[in-house]
């Protein structure tokens, strides 16, 4: 692996879904080329139904691209695997496991001994600020807390890349703000390559080193790229923040 090689690369990735016995085909993604650097925080922003979740699922290995390929550290991605941590929009915690049981699941599946995986889980539960809730079941937690568990669970596997699929889409505005701040704090504590998908421009500017917008209609294509050089923690009311927000909002075409 060359030191300056990008962490994760998509080359000419397209995806077409086929429905109903091959009679209807829907092109969802078309010729996506993307390279994400190590420890970069990339945000992909686009309106609903633009294919951004499908792109993330292809990088996760949960969908196979119709054309093109995805590689991680130069090796092709052929299926889901623990070197990529996925955080789901709908949390997808295991309801029959406590917080600690959810967080330690990755190490457990790898056969890490109990004492050691408890230690790993404890570390990440502390990192996401859920100390004291180790024994709670997911249904006893609020949405924000559930997603903290989701983030800790993905982190506990020590993945090379974190993939977040509209992780705060189910939260109310205030909790969402708080979770964005927490995301920055956690990411600064444990740097990872992050690909964060959202439909929220504000969230994108608050979080990203780089923002890529997608076109608002199918098939999804990458549209423009913005480098965000504002220092963290960012202020939503900064002039530069607002200028960038204005710029992205202007060019984002919504399918209304």
């Amino acid at each position: 692996m060359k030191p300056d090689q990008p962490k994760i690369v998509c080359q000419d990735v397209s995806k077409t879904f086929t429905q109903r016995f091959g009679k209807v085909t829907i092109p969802v993604l078309e010729s996506i080329d993307l390279a994400v650097e190590e420890n970069e925080f990339l945000v992909i922003v686009g309106p609903g139904q633009c294919g951004k979740t499908t792109l993330l699922r292809i990088m996760a290995g949960l969908e196979t691209p119709s054309t093109g390929r995805v590689s991680l550290d130069g090796a092709p991605v052929t299926g889901p695997g623990p070197d990529r941590g996925l955080v789901f929009q709908k949390y997808m915690l295991f309801p029959w496991r406590t917080v600690v049981g959810n967080v330690e699941m990755g190490p457990k599946l790898r056969g890490v001994p109990k004492a050691e995986r408890r230690e790993i889980a404890g570390h990440y539960i502390k990192l996401v600020g859920l100390e004291g809730f180790e024994k709670a079941y997911p249904h006893q937690l609020s949405g924000g807390m559930k997603q903290r568990v989701g983030i800790a669970r993905a982190y506990a596997n020590n993945p090379k890349v974190m993939l977040l699929d509209e992780p705060f889409g189910q939260l109310d505005a205030q909790t969402r703000y708080l979770m964005e701040q927490e995301t920055v704090r956690i990411w600064e504590a444990e740097k990872r390559t992050v690909i964060f998908v959202t439909n929220n421009i504000d969230e994108a500017i608050y979080l990203g080193d780089r923002i890529i917008t997608m076109e608002g209609k199918l098939p999804g294509r990458l549209k423009s790229t913005y480098q965000v050089t504002l220092p963290r923690p960012r202020e939503h009311m900064d002039v530069e923040f607002l200028e960038l927000r204005h710029q992205i909002t202007e060019e984002t075409e919504l399918l209304l």
Binding site: G79, P80, M92, F94, W96, R97, L109, R110
Partner: protein, 282 residues
Amino acid sequence: MSSQAEATLGLNPRVYQSGLGARLWSFFHNRYVLYGLSVIGFLAIWHWAALHSSIAKFLPTPAEVWTEMVRLSGDRLAGKTLWGHLWASLRRVLIGFAIGLAVGVPLGLFMALNKYVNAVVKPVFDLIKPMPPISWISLSILWFGIGEESKVFIIVVGAFVPALINSYNGIRLVDPALYDAIRMLGGNRRQELLQVTFPAGFPALFAGFQIALSVAWGCVLAAELVGARSGMGYIIILGMKVFNPAMIIGGMVVIALVAGMLSLLLNKVEKVICPWKRELPQ
């Protein structure tokens, strides 16, 4: 908040702020007091109906039923006291229920996990499913005689249907994204089964057990009504033959109590095994 608004919302019933009124108000709003009133009210209506209604001739009072139950628990009918007959029925239910689950649960599991098994089993199962289990009684007696086997057979037929349906649906309807989650964490096929499929299916499985249990009681009664010298069904049919409605109702009450307790026990077991399941409002 203005006092008028409070009154409208019922937050501050001024009339009962203190004294006897308040104490009566809170007494009659106590859940357990209302439970008691409900039971007493029911018994009172029953008692009245047993004395004055048009079916009074064959409706004993609650007290007469109680006396009859006490008598039956000492006297022997066909060689058994009430408890002996209860045990005869309970034993059939438990054996049939256990066999029904042992057949239905794995079959449902394999049907949900393997589409070929499903394709082979489902047409036959769909044919058997709507048949009332009691309709098997005649065949069962021809095949197995009037002994224990024929009764247990009916219960097995009745219990395995809901057990199979619920294990099949419970596992088939697991959120596929949970499988995505376990795969992303590095789970293999075996770990998917152990960590997602089974635990996700448990609550539906237990719901099926509850249905199977109640069907099992229905089946044992029907089987005993048709031909038996023991069991609660025998007591009930004997009560009809000797014109003793107190015996019939006594039998019904005992069945209700035992079946209810068994169902409650199953609930407790579920809570221990599936502590994550949110409790539904009763």
